[in-house]
């Protein structure tokens, strides 16, 4: 009677119908099978895992390719383009005044005459020339070099200052943190563009006599003042971010465990805290590059950027303003390159964040 009931269970029930099984279905697991239960998943490190996720992100991968192409071009191009960014084109050792304002792939009269007489083919002016008869392509290449290095150097400066300041404030906390963060608040509340412009003007005046006899002269006062401005102003958001990260990480019990072991403060920061906010640091630094490039372009456009004859993408665009109607290409090219670099770096930064910042689980 009871067995009858057992068999007639509801057909949707998830209960196992025991009547269908007997002892032979339940044999003891062998040692081998038991060991299989003990096997863990494939060991993946944080880095491998993140790279795998990054590779699956088409936008980030496209950005990497674009950036690599740009970097490769600015490294390689100057070695096969026979023109200089700072000098007027010369044919046969003579300055070619007629080469001003050429269109893309055009040759000046003097060059055409030279080629006809010798039969030698001259290297084309890929983007034409500017109003001072300089090859525009090589100027764009050098401008990109300058802009990119300003971006990278500024980002590194911001990273170093922000990292040291933020780690100290976050790790020691309490009164130290309070005072350090009030300073950050004050700097943060200044209108940065205004300050940058004011500081650039002031530094330009003051720095000139100081650097006149040193190698720094090559960079020009504008460039150096720009770095100083970045160093003085832009680290604050980085410092805030790192402090916040450290504050949250130092509450983890593993930091307490390290203290309990007797680990010194420096080692705790290096081994336990910083590695755990590394992803955020890398991402923010990556995002700092385009912001610095943008500021540099902006300043150059206002005439506060690198000094002539050195150029940057921003000052190229600024110079092109005068002939905008007749030679729009000279404005479009640097503008497009700025956009490409900034966009690619932003997308890459976002991609890095998605790949690395997800919490481990």
């Amino acid at each position: 009677m009871q067995e009858e009931n057992l068999k007639k269970r509801q057909f949707l029930s998830a209960q196992v119908d025991l009547s269908k099984f007997n002892r032979s279905h339940f044999e003891a697991a062998t040692e081998d099978e038991k060991r299989q239960q003990d096997v863990m998943g494939e060991s993946t490190t944080f880095l491998k895992d993140g790279m795998r996720r990054l590779r699956k992100n088409p936008l980030a991968m496209a950005s990497i390719i674009v950036l690599l192409l740009i970097v490769l071009t600015i490294i390689v191009a100057p070695s096969f383009v026979p023109y200089s960014y700072s000098e007027i084109i010369s044919v046969n050792g003579k300055r070619d005044k007629s080469a001003a304002n050429l269109g893309p792939f055009e040759y000046s009269k003097a060059e055409q005459r030279y080629m006809k007489s010798t039969g030698e083919k001259l290297f084309p002016h890929i983007l034409g020339t500017d109003s001072l008869s300089r090859d525009y392509f090589i100027r764009v290449i050098y401008g990109t070099r300058v802009s990119l290095s300003v971006g990278v150097v500024a980002a590194i400066m911001v990273l170093i200052i922000g990292l040291v300041y933020g780690s100290v404030a976050g790790y020691f906390g309490g009164r130290v943190d309070l005072i350090m963060m009030r300073i950050v608040d004050i700097i943060y509340s200044l209108p940065d563009m205004l300050i940058i412009i004011l500081l650039s003007v002031v530094f330009n005046e003051r720095l000139k006599p100081l650097i006149d006899k040193t190698i720094l002269r090559v960079l020009g006062t504008n460039m150096i003042s720009m770095f100083l401005v970045f160093g003085l102003l832009y680290w604050v958001s980085m410092a805030r971010l790192i402090r916040g990260q450290i504050l949250s990480i130092k509450n983890n019990e593993y930091v307490l465990a390290a203290k309990c072991i007797g680990t010194k403060n420096g080692r705790i920061l290096r081994r336990h805290i910083l590695p755990n906010c590394l992803s955020v640091i890398i991402i923010t630094t990556a995002l700092q590059v385009p912001s610095a490039i943008f500021t540099e372009s902006y300043l150059s456009f206002l005439g506060l950027g690198v000094s002539a004859p050195l150029t940057s993408l921003g000052s190229l665009a600024n110079d092109a303003r005068a002939g905008m109607q007749s030679y729009p290409l000279r404005l479009v090219v640097p503008a497009v390159i700025i956009c490409l670099i900034v966009l690619a770096l932003n997308l890459l930064g976002d991609g890095l964040r998605d790949a690395f910042d997800s919490k481990l689980n």
Partner: protein, 345 residues
Amino acid sequence: MENKNLLEVSHLKQYFPVRQGFHRIPLKAVDDVSFTIKPGETLGLVGESGCGKTTVGRTLLRLYQPTGGRIVFDGEVLFDSGEQYDDNGKLITDGEGRPVMGTRIDVDMLPYRKQMQMVFQDPYSSLNPRMTVEDIIGEPLDVHKLYSSKKERREKILSLMETVGLNAEHAMRYAHEFSGGQRQRIGIARALAVNPKFIVCDEPVSALDVSIQAQVVNMFEELQEKLGVAYLFIAHDLLVVHHISDRIAVMYLGKVVEIADADELNANPMHPYTLSLLSAVPIPDPETARKSNRIVLEGDVPSPLRMPSGCPFRTRCRYATEQCAMEMPPLSDRGNGHFTACWNK
């Protein structure tokens, strides 16, 4: 020899400053806690969540700077705030109510970190997710330079892993790849690496699956037999504590209200709070459960920011009288090594 204490904690206080509006008021997480632990002994520490058990453990290991009290380990004073107490445990004050201060002692803890260790409550946040097991267990060895060659370091780590029942093949794995029980074993191996005489075990099993709890508790017992290490074993589960402890201290709102041998406490609980804790232990047999008259606690634990005057338990105590509101009952000797802080029991 028999009477020598490994650890003596007296009048330990830990107040956290808490901001309330514009004021900073002290949160008395641990208030005047005293106990002793003998070599190789286990003292259980029980109490509800938030009563300050973790804080006692961390403060006596000097992970937090104590607000007051005295900590003596192996005959050496690690900390003494300088406050002095008379024989009845009353603070000695001068005419204006200020404590009479003796000399303050505050030693560098580094050499003592090799002798006192801790196993943490949360097996997930107590291991750095970016480090391999080898590096986690190896860190105390690195810090105290307990090896002479890379090979010796590795051998030590592998033998520690074996001691706590971990598969040595997993040494290069990252902590986040392990289960809760395995992680807790890693934490225990890290604590054992320096060969300590005393370990604070802060609810080492409460985050684990019930099926694994017993394994880990048994491992603690085996380790104690093998290594002769003393434990302060914190838990909120009286069953677990009774199983592993030689003596048990019961805490309520930052104060120790009762302390006795484990069996004595179980057979003869005195403090009303201990009585209610014991009757909250689930009884497996429903028949016995019905017959026993359970004491169900009413009301909530008061906030440690607004401690009741006198006895901290008086807001929930059935036996409370006027005297309880006036003065904190001292922890008084009831014979048999049984101490209770209650006026009426």
